[in-house]
Symmetry: C2
Subunit: 191 residues, 2 copies
DNA sequence: GGTTGAATGTTGACATCGTTCACATCGGAG
DNA sequence: CTCCGATGTGAACGATGTCAACATTCAACC
C-alpha cells in the first residue's frame, strides 16, 4: 500500500491530509490549522484537498469524528481497567484526554463541530458512542448528566487555566466525590 | 456619503469598536467577528482600531472581560434573588447566560482568552470576580469546584447541542440535585 | 493495445483578513 | 497663532479559504 514514489497521484491524499491536519492541531496552538498548510505538509497543493473534502469544515468534522472515536475508546478502557470504580476512572481519563490534546478537544466541542451536527452522520455516531460509554456507567439519567457535566466542565476549566492544578487527576478524583487513595489510576497520564 | 457629518476624530472609537464587535459576536455566528468589519460598523477604517488596541486579541480580551463582569453580576443577582436556594439559582443563571450569548460565552472560555491570561489584568480580575461569586455560595473548595464544573459542563454541552433539552433551566435544576424527580438521583450524588 | 472518461492534482485568481507604513488631520498647550 | 501629539486614512503585504480552467494519471472497454 505504501508507494515510495511520489507520483502525480499521491497514494492516499485523504489520509495524508487528515494526518497533517491532526499534526498541526496537536503541535501548533489552536489557530495554526490551515487547509493550505495541511496540503503543504501532505506535499500537495491546496485545491487538491477539495477533491476529498467539500470544505475546510468537513476536514475538521472528520478529525473531530476520529477524536470522538479515540475518546470513547479511552473512556471504555479506563472503565474496564478499574472495575471497582469505573466512573472515577472514566472521569480521570476524560480530563486526561482533554489535557493531552487540548486543541483537538476544543475542536470536538467547539462551534464548528456544533454547526456540523446532523450534516455528518459519522461524526454524530462517533460522538454518541463516546457518550454512551459514559452513561452506561452512571446509572440514572440525572446521575449520568451530573457526572458528565462535572467532568466536562472541569476539563474545560483546566484547559482555560481557570483552575490552577498541579495534579489534574487528583483534582478530578477529589471533585468526583470519592476520596479513595488508590494510586493506580494516577499513573495513566504520562505527561 | 456621511463624509460631511463626521466630527472626526470619532468621539469615542474605543467604545464604538467594542460595541460593534459585541454586536458582531452576538448576531453573526462565531467566525463572524472581524476587526475590519467592526471598524466598518464604527464608521472608521481598519487601521484606526490599532490606535486603541494593540491587537485583535486585545479587543477580544476586552470584550471577554466585559462578559465576565456581566456574568458575575448575573450570578450574584440570581443568588440574592433566591436566598433559599442560591446555588441552584446561580446554576440556572449560569446556563441561561451561556445559552443567551453563545459566542460570547465561548469567547470567554476559549483558547484566545486562555492565552491572554496574565497579559490582561482586567480580564483576570473580572474572571476571578465571577468565580468568587460562585465559591461564596458553595462552601468547601471541593463543593464549589463540583458545582462550578457541573454547571459549566452542562452549559458547554447544551451549547454543542450534545444534550437535547427542551427546558434547560429544568434540566439544570434536576441535575444540580435540588428536588430531583427521580428518586435514584439523590443517591448517587452524595457518596 | 490504444482510446477515452473519470479521478485526481496543478496553476492562477479573487475576496477577505490581520497588520504595518507613510501620510493627513484634528485638538489642545505654549 | 503655532506646533505637537493623538487620532484617523489609504495603500500595501502576506496569508487564508475557495473557485475555475487546465493537466495528468488510472482503469475499463473496443
Amino acid at each position: 500500500m505504501s508507494t515510495f514514489n511520489r507520483p502525480y497521484h499521491h497514494g492516499d491524499l485523504r489520509a495524508a491530509l487528515i494526518a497533517a491536519a491532526e499534526e498541526l492541531l496537536d503541535e501548533g496552538g489552536d489557530g495554526a490549522l490551515s487547509l493550505r498548510e495541511a496540503a503543504r505538509r501532505a506535499g500537495v497543493s491546496a485545491p487538491a484537498a477539495y477533491r476529498h473534502f467539500p470544505d475546510k469544515d468537513a476536514l475538521l468534522a472528520t478529525i473531530a469524528a476520529r477524536g470522538f472515536s479515540a475518546f470513547g475508546q479511552a473512556l471504555r478502557e479506563a472503565a474496564s481497567g478499574a472495575p471497582d470504580a469505573p466512573l472515577d476512572a472514566m472521569g480521570v481519563a476524560y480530563v486526561d484526554f482533554a489535557l493531552a490534546r487540548p486543541a483537538r478537544f476544543r475542536l470536538m466541542f467547539g462551534p464548528v463541530i456544533a454547526r456540523a451536527k446532523g450534516r455528518d452522520p459519522a461524526l454524530d455516531a462517533a460522538r454518541e458512542a463516546a457518550f454512551a460509554a459514559l452513561s452506561a456507567q452512571a446509572g440514572s439519567r440525572a446521575a449520568s448528566l451530573r457526572a458528565w457535566g462535572m467532568v466536562h466542565g472541569l476539563a474545560m476549566l483546566l484547559l482555560d487555566g481557570a483552575l490552577p492544578a498541579e495534579d489534574p487527576a487528583a483534582l478530578v478524583r477529589e471533585v468526583l466525590g470519592g476520596a479513595p487513595p488508590s494510586p493506580q489510576a494516577a499513573v495513566s497520564a504520562g505527561r
